[in-house]
């Protein structure tokens, strides 16, 4: 009795710091976001006025917000599909095939992930530069005439942002999949090979089902992080007002002195990302296979 009492006290003590920090820095601010979305106030103003759901009413009629959310969804869908496709393919190639310099490629793919967004924005400035930029120079060299694509101008700017985001994200997810792929027992592949299954069959029948749990988890991570990353990329790469996503819309409202309105946008984005993750989780449910 005494022992278990001490034990639970010990457990409580161990959990307390994390729980405390989580409450102070996650739960309270989140609740505060919901509260503030019902008020209108300037960022530095000590007074606030209760406006009920008015902020939300305006928000859903604000064409800028609607376009921003459309852009967010576009980025989430396209970036996720492309990133996952390449991450899985590269991971499969690097784990299953014998290629010289495997580690070298692994590092190369991973590097973008450790760079800060500011550095990435700088790199892509050079890549997308209209005159003598890397991409335009390569295209001009191949085609033999002077090609001048304005990568950071409408309407192609979305594509440019997508390319940068994919480039940044592939490495991390590739390494994650490589880890789970190398946990798949080799004898499975050997026996499948003896039964006459080709490389592609092996990939779809063995590799994919066995790493499915991993893919599911990372998919949820990725969707949430894309919402954040899209904001950082837009802020650092794109001219103000040219292409907005949900979070950059929210940020601009704060700068315009509309704290409550900005929090209302925050609430919508918060609920949106939760709903999206739940949906993705639901749709990707499969029976878990044991290795």
């Amino acid at each position: 009795m005494l022992r278990s009492k001490g034990r639970s006290r010990f457990i409580a003590l161990c959990v307390a710091p994390a729980a405390l920090l989580f409450t102070i820095f996650m739960i309270i601010p989140t609740l505060n976001v919901f509260r503030m979305s019902l008020f209108e106030r300037g960022a530095y103003s000590p007074t606030e006025t209760f406006v009920g759901l008015n902020n939300f009413k305006i928000l859903f009629n604000d064409t800028k917000f609607i376009t921003s959310m459309q852009n967010t969804i576009l980025l989430i869908v396209v970036v996720t599909l492309i990133t996952f496709f390449f991450a899985i393919v590269f991971a499969a190639i690097l784990t299953r095939e014998k290629i010289k310099g495997q580690n070298f490629f692994r590092i190369i793919f991973y590097i973008p992930n450790i760079l800060s967004i500011v550095v990435i924005a700088g790199i892509f400035s050079a890549v997308y530069k209209p005159e003598n930029g890397m991409l335009n120079s390569i295209f001009s060299m191949i085609s033999g005439r002077n090609i001048m694509i304005l990568w950071k101008d409408q309407p192609i700017i979305v594509v440019s942002v997508i390319i940068a985001m994919v480039w940044q994200a592939i490495g991390y997810y590739m390494v994650m999949y490589m880890a789970s792929m190398s946990a798949v027992p080799v004898d499975l592949y050997e026996s499948a090979g003896l039964d006459g299954a080709g490389r592609l069959d092996q990939f779809f029948e063995i590799t994919m089902p066995l790493i499915w749990t991993n893919i599911r988890t990372t998919l949820t991570f990725f969707i949430i992080s894309t919402i954040n990353m899209a904001f950082l990329f837009i802020k650092s790469m794109v001219a103000p007002g040219m292409l907005d996503v949900g979070l950059s819309f929210m940020y601009n409202q704060k700068d315009a002195g509309l704290y409550g309105y900005s929090m209302a946008a925050g609430v919508v984005i918060f609920l949106f990302s939760f709903a999206l993750s739940a949906l993705v989780n639901q749709f990707t449910k499969r029976d878990v296979l044991q290795m």
């Binding site: 307390a16 305006i58 530069k129 007002g241 700068d255």
Partner: protein, 468 residues
Amino acid sequence: MKKILSALLAAVMVLGMLAGCSNNPGGEGSKAPDSDPTKAPDAAQSEPVNEPAGKPLEGQTVKVAALSSGYIDAYPEMWAEVCAAFEEETGAKVELVLEKNLEAVIGPSMQGGDYPDAVLCATGRPDGLTEQFIKDKLIADITDVLSMNVPGEDKKVSDKLLGGFTDTTLTNPYGDGKTYLAPMFYSPCGLFYNADLFAKNGWTVPTTWDEMWALADQLPEGQYLFTYPTAGYFDAFFYALMRSFGPDFFNKATAYEEGIWDTDEGKQCLEIVAKLASYTNPVTPAQANNNDFKMNQQLVLDDKALFMPNGTWIVGEMADSPRVDGFAWGMTALPASQSGGNGSSFCWIEQIWVPQGAENVDGGKQFVAFMYSDKAAEIFLKGGAVQPIEGITDKLDGDNKMFYSIYDNGADAAMGGFATTESVAGLGSIMEVFFDPVNTLVSDPSTKDAWISGIKDANDQYRAHLVG
């Protein structure tokens, strides 16, 4: 024993993480002698008694927050020296926060109610911190500073200030004759160009817009009339453009008068911007972001664009950039709206102000007054920062002398800007409505009508939400 150890470790973890959150802006704070609250007694306590040499702020602390702008790159010790001079003069202790991203550093602590006593942060910055303080009426009235003596001198602040600088919405945002923001640095804005290119080709700098378009039509392939660093630079440009249609039009337009954009002048104003967009180097919008704007400025150095709107800081900003042989900076006012008229140039002003919630408002005011002292002005000049003080233009040399003489050469000065309005959800800012769409206008001229109707709509809504 093990349990105690674990508990201790857990406690250390909590403390460690909480310590990481201490909100000392700037970082230097921890190095500075501690800002013990008892050492910063309120003004009433520390007034006369213990000042033998008449140091008015002996024992007080004045917290100053200043934006680290291009001037600091030119002369990094600028602010430290000015603060030292202020300390010597008044006996106060200055705590300085000098940051490039000032809003991000002092913003959070101000939200928590900890205000600096003087803030150098101009309106028109992307974060709009100063605008928000104006809208919410959180800035202390500093009209009395104008009649104060400059610390260490026997002249009043208003005697030293150049005329006209405390008459605009930039310093008197509510139009009630009271001054809330002090004009700190000023800089004429205009169109910058390569003077050598004009001399070589025998071109004259256009004085009317018709001459401007004529010049554009004779440019060789690959050379364009215009570029701009980012769409944000259109604000100074647009104010000057409005001013070139007369002070009357300027005042009406900045007060959002009804139907102002349907008048002849209003239509012409927008028409000029749209036409200029069609003569803009097409790569401009692709580089008009905070990362690449220097590439647009480079277009002028490379003779790929003739003019760009900018401020006098451009010379320092592009000092290390490659340029065509013989390049020489030239600056001109905006062309006149009709022949025989005056050109006009926007006078860009950086303001210093005292938050209402500051602990030491009087100290803040003294600091503002000291900014106009000869000592401070001399130090600021070393960084190329020019203040609106009588006789200052005589002390300038080089490019700056040419730039600041723009008003002596017949250009009208445009001062002030659009009147302050409340923030309204769903209503874009001036920047979003007037200037950001210029990027799209350059790449897709068919958006012109949408841009103009957006301005007209917003004009009506702004008028309905004027502050003051």
